[in-house]
């Protein structure tokens, strides 16, 4: 009995000590970190592209024009997402100079406005259904945030329809321009209220085309340091998605 007790005590002390040691080393490790900027950023040198709203199945938007419930979810997500882009929400943000990088020295970092009207037909102002009810759905394309990323040149997002002549693809802002003033990003903690630039893609199917199905591919163009054709990473600077609009 005593023997078992001793063994139990040993394990309590031993594991207690191990736990303490582990916690201490973890704590020490965390102390070496900066909570504003990650220690290393070598693994994300170039941003990925992603679409919004997130489709139900992997990157395939399927909805029926005549059935609002089939796109209700998308509209809800878009509205929610664009809420922070509304003018009211951006009152405290700065109007920055277009076309140049907005580098800041701190200690306070300000965010640039991205008014939702830049998205024109896809802003949701005039069309609360974001075109879904007309069979011209809007999809947002956004570039992943990366701290300190300074795009060179004049980056834009080019979207093309892979299936010819079935649909017209329009991008807003015009030409899918991404303004340099939104870069660099200084991180969640410092850069409060930061809004990442968006590009909206609207697909209008030709009225005579019977097959209302299109695959759209978007790529970042116009910038040397934003890569868009990595063999392994299919989302690095590009994204492809499929839209099927049934009547």
């Amino acid at each position: 009995m005593l023997f078992e007790g001793l063994i139990l005590l040993f394990y309590l002390v031993f594991y207690g000590f191990l736990a303490a040691l582990f916690s201490f080393t973890m704590w020490a490790m965390l102390q070496t970190l900066n909570d504003e900027v990650p220690k290393y950023r070598d693994q994300i040198p170039s941003p990925g592209l992603m679409v919004f709203p997130k489709p139900v199945t992997a990157l395939e938007y399927t909805f029926s024009v005549s059935d609002p419930s089939s796109y209700e979810g998308y509209i809800k997500d878009l509205k929610k997402f664009l809420k922070s882009y509304s003018l009211e929400e951006q009152k405290n943000l700065t109007n920055c100079t277009d076309g140049v990088l907005f580098e800041q020295k701190g200690p306070v970092y300000v965010a640039c406005r991205f008014p939702d009207f830049l998205l024109q037909a896809c802003s949701g102002r005039n069309d609360p259904d974001f075109g879904y009810s007309q069979g011209q759905p809007c999809i947002l394309v956004k570039m992943n945030r990366i701290i300190g990323l300074k795009p060179e040149g004049s980056p834009r997002i080019d979207c093309i329809s892979k299936d010819e002549n079935t649909a017209i693809v329009s991008t807003y802002p015009n030409h899918g321009i991404i303004d340099l003033k939104y870069f660099p990003y200084y991180g969640k903690k410092l850069h409060v209220g930061y809004l990442q630039p968006l590009v909206a893609v609207q697909v209008s199917f030709e009225s005579n085309s019977t097959k209302k199905e299109v695959t759209v591919e978007c790529k970042i163009e116009g910038s040397r340091n934003l890569r868009n054709e990595d063999d392994r990473d299919k989302f690095l600077g590009r994204v492809a998605f499929k839209i099927t609009a049934r009547t």
Partner: protein, 994 residues
Amino acid sequence: MSRKTLEIYSVELDGTKDTKQTDQEDDKKYNDLDLKKSHQKEELKRELDLDDHKLTSEELEQKYGTNIITGLSSARAAEHLARDGPNTLSPPKQTPEIIKFLKQMVGGFSILLWIGAVLCWIAYGIQYVNDKSASLDSVYLGVVLALVVILTGIFAYYQEAKSTNIMASFSKMIPQEALVIRDSEKKVIPAEQLVVGDIVEIKGGDQIPADIRLLSSQGCKVDNSSLTGESEPQPRSAEFTHENPLETKNIGFYSTTCLEGTATGVVINTGDRTVIGRIASLASGVGSEKTPIATEIEHFVHIVAGVAVSVGLLFFIIAVSLKYQVLDSIIFLIGIIVANVPEGLLATVTVTLSLTAKRMAKKNCLVKNLEAVETLGSTSIICSDKTGTLTQNRMAVAHLWFDNQIFMADTSENQLNQAFDQSSGTWASLSKIIALCNRAEFRPGQENIPIMKKVVVGDASETALLKFSEVILGDVMEIRKRNRKVAEIPFNSTNKFQLSIHETEDPEDKHFLVVMKGAPERILERCSTIMINGQEQPLGKSNATAFHTAYMELGGLGERVLGFCHLYLPEDEFPESYPFDVDAMNFPTSNLCFVGLLSMIDPPRSTVPDAVAKCRSAGIKVIMVTGDHPITAKAVAKSVGVISASSETVEDIARRCSIAVEQVNKRDARAAVVTGMELKDMAPEQLDEILANYSEIVFARTSPQQKLIIVEGCQRQDAVVAVTGDGVNDSPALKKADIGIAMGIAGSDAAKNAADMVLLDDNFASIVTGVEEGRLIFDNLKKTIAYTLTKNIAELCPFLIYIIVGLPLPIGTITLLFIDLGTDIIPSIALAYEKAESDIMNRKPRHKKKDRLVNHQLAIYSYLHIGLMQALGAFLVYFTVYAQQGFWPTSLINLRVRWEKDELNDVEDSYGQEWTRYQRKYLEWTGYTAFFVGIMVQQIADLIIRKTRRNSIFQQGLFRNKVIWVGIASQIIIALILSYGLGSVTALSFTMLR
């Protein structure tokens, strides 16, 4: 089985065997009680239903369709050959190579890994059916697992094959030839082409090529020791002398040696149908015991496999109930199994064993079966032969008695100087008699060979005397030349003396000198005077008493005593031209002058007493089994320490206290001498009692067959028994023993085949070095296993945490395999080079049921102490990598599902950055690599921890085992290559680390 090849039967060796007293008549009858208990008796009986020895030549001719004068015709011989097959012993049934190979493929952990691999492919199949673009990860994993199994299987197979090859090369066949009469012509043909009915001629030095019935012989003698254990040369003639075919003189047995003379005989049995062939095949019928290490490894495999499967299934169930997909759960299951199974360990064990086997081969222990290496270490009883193993297998002068004094002679192997007092005049006379009254001669052409190594023509005693005098007096041949021999009566068993008459050295002195040696009492009878201090004195009563005392004393030491006397013939009666006639005995053979006694013994090997003492301190019981007379056996046992100086037998106590043997309390005696006769009448329980109660036992006058009974008795005591043997008849005992040790020099092929180990120098001391190596390997295997098991926890935890807490996977299955089969292999082999910790030969032998290779202490220490620390350390590294890249530990919890979603390409980290799937995957691989390096670095520390089990690392010395450092270097180099060199190979999931 190949023919006997290593028979270095010089005359010397043959002769020595006559020291074994021939009281074996009772034993050599196969039909007696010896083998009552074993089924072999019936077999032996049946096989000896030979009646050819009773037939006349004519009947033989008829039976075998041959002609004694002209032999078989070639056509007939070919016919017989086609019918009976070649005259060779068929090799012991061997498992076909392919079966051996397949066994390696499915043995041990392999079956688990195969299941893992197949599950992987099934999982991929299901994924593929659902989604054509399913990732190939699980296919890679399955392929890697299969490769691992196949490669380790091939490796283990190769190792085993290699060690078998050592043996094969050892017993390389030297084609044997036979002189046969066919078509009325004498032809030399390969012995394997002999057929029944062939007429063969044999001469001294030949091996008898088949069982033959002798038709004629001239002074033919054979050495049947390998068959019957009789060591005396057996005369062979054409007469039918005994009902029992083994006893009768007119049959010569296959593989025995013809020592001298010539003979002609008709072949009556060939190949496997010969007596030797049948015994050999019997031996292969005796079940070989599973080696202790095999049991241990099996035990270990069961434990680990049990843990792996149960943990795997447990977490499979947990995973399923946590709503993971079944497919994913299967992948977890595979991960857990792979993490739990030490893939490289069995290969490591094989390498370790073969390294030790190599080391032992250097020390003259040739191990046939790799696993026997360790068996030797757990040996608790060694049953050793006496002649040749404990002793030098030659006669040597041990004591001299002259001037009423006993002198001791040096009996060591090299015998450079004899230190006893040689100033007395008696010695001068005695040495002259020793040198002259001797028919042995050195074979010419050996001038540069040390005296003790020279080959002598003559019997063992004469050889001993010749060498003895050569050492002391110098060139004996020269002395004999100066003292020309004029007449001689050789030794014969009726008069029991040898006599020769010489001219004296001094050309002026015309005396003749009669010198005589022989059985002491016979010599004394012929003497009337005795030489004391160089002076002849009348042989009084007191002198006679002194003689008897000395004679008894020397005889009591188990030594063969010879008496020496001489006489100078009066010149007037025996002038220079006197015609000595040995048949008429026209010279005096009585009233001689007694000079001294000399005793000879087959001396113990000089290294043996130490070795026996070492065995004793190592808790190993040494039992001597010999065909010799009990007195000789006991004397040798005492001189080598098998019976220690302070021990007494029941008989000793009885003599000391002058009471009857029955009155002695048996508990007082520690030693026992048991004869074959007593053993024969003993019930197994009585034998058990003897084996259990006496710590020092000598079995004397035993037959080789009784060895089997002794071995079985020892095994009933739960002992691990090692047995030495050389004869064909020893092979059942060798097979039965936990480790059979055959003699490399004196051993027959049958014995070598049945044995697990061959002792190249026939020396008992080599067994003890073997034991030491065996114990060392057990210790080192423990270290290796502990080292290997430790990381299993660090490999297993990631999967458990992954399932329960939902962290991104810390280490991939393939990466795990790189630890198990990459970085860890060389260090774990390096532990095999670890030197013994000081007390290795002061421990009791391990108990085969209690002291397991893997016991719960080892498992707990490895898993719950060091293993856990290792896991924590590796996790620390893992968290560091993620935190430095942006994912704080807290953000990782339950991240798994989103982390692994392929279409989710904007997973946010703790700093607001967004990651694509591939970027995450790359980070995950970095995590794998970091975790891998974390384990690897800690394994270096673990390696140093495992260097010692009892001693402190400073006692053991950090740098004594250089191979450890090679291991550490290899670990680092492999890790560097993997993380910096192969970072671009997708399937391996390694990335560069900062």
